[in-house]
């Protein structure tokens, strides 16, 4: 199979939200001894970018967005380990989750998928995530960015906890902490000393990209 055809398969798998097809296409990349980085950047990334744009226009909905993200992840799981160390694959790794005591997940899922579409490696910790888990996972996965979503006035306090926890252990400057979710505001973000407040998913991607450039 030609390299172009394999790239086409990678793109198609993401655009059709098909994890199995993504895995076969990734295997074809390996079999044909193609450059894995090229496969990611020319195959997967443009496709997920398209998906993100369609979601923004509400041409597709949350399940498609998340399934496309899943398809991309399945291909990345095979390709990423083959990228030589030192070569840049993603802009940065982001650890994201909804804070402790809070089970609202839709906004967080959108942000997480759109970050992936924006070229970030995203580790989604799910909902009801303990403060220490955000920090431990960020350290363990070599993440530069921590994203914390909170939808209730009773749970936004946990966003402050994450920042206090990092400060107390002297790790505050190692991470960019972004916060968001319905009741949060720029003022709240400033008050707790977060590095950025994301009004929506597009804004979240901008903030994360800015954070990477700033470093």
């Amino acid at each position: 199979m030609s390299a172009e055809k394999i790239l086409e398969q990678l793109r198609g798998a993401v655009l059709k939200y098909d994890s199995d097809a993504a895995v076969s296409a990734a295997k074809a990349v390996i079999h044909a001894k193609m450059d894995p980085l090229q496969a990611i950047e020319k195959g997967l990334v443009p496709a997920i970018h398209d998906v993100g744009e369609k979601f923004e226009k509400m041409e597709i909905y949350l399940p498609e967005l998340m399934l496309a993200g899943d398809a991309m992840k399945s291909a990345l799981a095979l390709l990423l380990p083959l990228v030589p160390k030192g070569e840049k694959t993603s802009k940065a790794t982001v650890v994201i989750g909804t804070v402790q005591g809070d089970v609202h997940e839709i906004g967080k899922n959108i942000v997480s998928s759109m970050l992936m579409a924006g070229g970030f490696e995203v580790i989604d910790l799910g909902v009801n995530v303990k403060t220490s888990t955000f920090v431990d996972e960020a350290k363990a996965r070599g993440a530069k960015i921590i994203g914390a979503s909170a939808l209730m006035s009773s749970t936004i306090g946990s966003q402050k906890d994450i920042i206090d926890y990092l400060s107390a252990s002297g790790d505050r400057r190692r991470f960019t902490v972004l916060v968001g979710g319905g009741p949060t505001t720029q003022e709240w973000s400033d008050e707790i000393g977060a590095d950025g407040w994301g009004k929506n998913a597009v804004h979240a991607v901008k903030l994360a990209s800015k954070a990477v450039k700033g470093r």
Binding site: L62, M66, L67, G101, S154, P183
Partner: protein, 462 residues
């Protein structure tokens, strides 16, 4: 009849599945399939559809969905499945009337039909919106309890106790929930409506322990209040929520399941979200032993229920439920715009009309997406109730015309709505009346409604 022990057994022994597989590969895929199978189509030009076959098809699609997909328990990662005969039996045995309240404020909630002349049950208030202080809590609830149409109240949620921000499942939340109960009764007593029921017991109790902690009669909750427990979209439950249901059943308090399927979310577009919305009713009787229902479908972007898609899906759901069941369904609406704006009043008028003419009762309302503390006043629910009474008996065709004209007045502003004023800017609690500016808006609103053929008072102040 499926009971709570059966639900637990199913949750412990059901088919194991990851949450992602359940919601994306099982639920979302099946909804899509049903939309196609039953050929359900949204039409922008008919926000209030008048097609009984469409409503019955949507109901059947929802029934299939419950049977084919089931609910999901996030603690055990298992599917809670129900057979066709279990769903049918649940629909048959679900209560067709419940009494709420005490003394002269005791009333019966009964099912309505499409075009029903009987006014809707008016569950009025903040829809659980957050308030910043006990002072704002009392100002709001006193204002709600004074609304003549009010059958029951939906209180705001307290966010602070003793100067500290409440944390979930902490002693602060237990104390907050107890205070929520006490202050509710205090506010009703102050305006002479001692028997008024609260039907979102208890909004401050997000966790199971906080609800249980506020159940002692000395805090004032009664068996004749309504116990509202949310289900996690789509059709997901966990032990904490099942605990709440078990506690409420123990007290004998009627459980209302609330569910907020987002259009654009797991169920896709307006068609799929309507099916999901209807399906949640059936899932709620079975899983939570719910005897009344509180759908609050919302648009994912606008986080409100006043755009054409949402009006259509509220109406279709209402018609499907009222034509095919005797379930007691109370639709909660959200506006995008805030207090003291004409847009907010027009939005709630449209959503209430869609619900009431399609056979639903109303809970009104979440103002300005219901996400900011204190961005709500007693005026908006009062207007919603007036509209609810005014449009009862209206035909679907007339409702379609009215709603189309209303929606044209604000739909281009949904992207960036005016957020209006805060509680104490727009409402004078001591004088129990809105601000001068707001009264001017009410006058304008009354004129606008009159030009559309609807006589509403706009409160006693306009």
């Amino acid at each position: 009849m499926v009971q709570i022990l059966d639900v637990m057994q199913k949750a412990l022994e059901g088919k194991p599945m990851s949450e992602t597989d359940y919601q994306l590969r099982s639920f979302a895929a099946k909804v899509n399939e049903k939309v196609k199978e039953y050929d359900i189509h949204f039409d922008r030009n008919t926000p209030i559809p008048d097609d009984p076959t469409l409503a019955d098809d949507a109901f059947q699609a929802a029934f299939d969905l419950v049977v084919e997909v089931g609910a999901y328990c996030t603690n055990t990662n298992r599917v809670i499945s129900y057979t066709e005969s279990e769903v049918k039996e649940a629909l048959r045995f679900a209560p067709s009337e419940i009494e709420f309240g005490e003394g002269k404020d005791r009333r019966k909630l009964r099912p309505r039909s499409v075009g029903d002349k009987n006014p809707p049950w008016c569950l009025l208030g903040a829809g659980g919106g957050a308030c910043s202080s006990e002072q704002s809590f009392l100002a709001l609830v006193e204002g709600y309890a004074e609304i003549p149409e009010a059958n029951a109240i939906t209180t705001p949620a307290l966010t602070r106790v003793g100067g500290m921000r409440i944390r979930p499942a902490s002693p602060l939340e237990v104390l907050g929930a107890q205070r929520n109960a006490v202050l509710f009764r205090e506010a009703c007593n102050r305006v002479g409506r001692q028997g008024m029921p609260v039907m979102n017991a208890l909004s401050t109790a997000e966790s199971d322990i906080a609800l249980a902690g506020a159940m002692h009669p000395k805090y004032g909750l009664r068996q004749s209040d309504g116990y509202m427990i949310c289900c996690m979209d789509p059709m997901k439950v966990d032990f904490a929520r099942l605990n709440k249901a078990t506690v409420a059943l123990g007290l004998g308090g009627p459980i209302g399941m609330c569910f907020g399927p987002m259009m654009g979310g797991y169920a896709g577009g307006p068609e799929g979200t309507a099916i999901s919305n209807i399906a949640h009713h059936m899932m709620g009787i079975l899983t939570y032993q719910a005897s009344w229902f509180l759908p609050f479908p919302l648009h994912l972007r606008y986080v409100s229920s006043s755009c054409r898609e949402l009006l259509w899906l509220i109406s279709l759901s209402g018609q499907a439920i009222s034509r095919n069941t005797h379930l007691l369904s109370v639709n909660l609406n959200y506006t995008s715009a805030g207090p003291s704006t004409l847009m907010c009043l027009l939005e709630t008028s449209a959503s209430v009309t869609a619900a009431v003419t399609s056979g639903l009762h109303i809970e009104s309302l979440g103002v300005a997406s219901n996400k900011e503390e204190d961005r709500t006043t007693p005026v908006e629910p009062r207007i919603s109730a007036e509209v609810g009474h005014a449009v009862a008996g209206m035909s679907l065709a007339d409702a379609n015309e009215l709603v189309t004209r209303l929606v044209k007045g604000y739909e281009d502003k949904l992207q960036a709505p005016p957020l209006g004023k805060m509680l104490f800017e727009a409402w004078d609690a001591d004088r129990r009346r809105p601000s001068k500016d707001y009264i001017a808006v009410l006058k304008e609103y009354r004129k606008k409604m009159k030009s559309l053929g609807i006589g509403v008072r706009g409160g006693p102040w306009a």
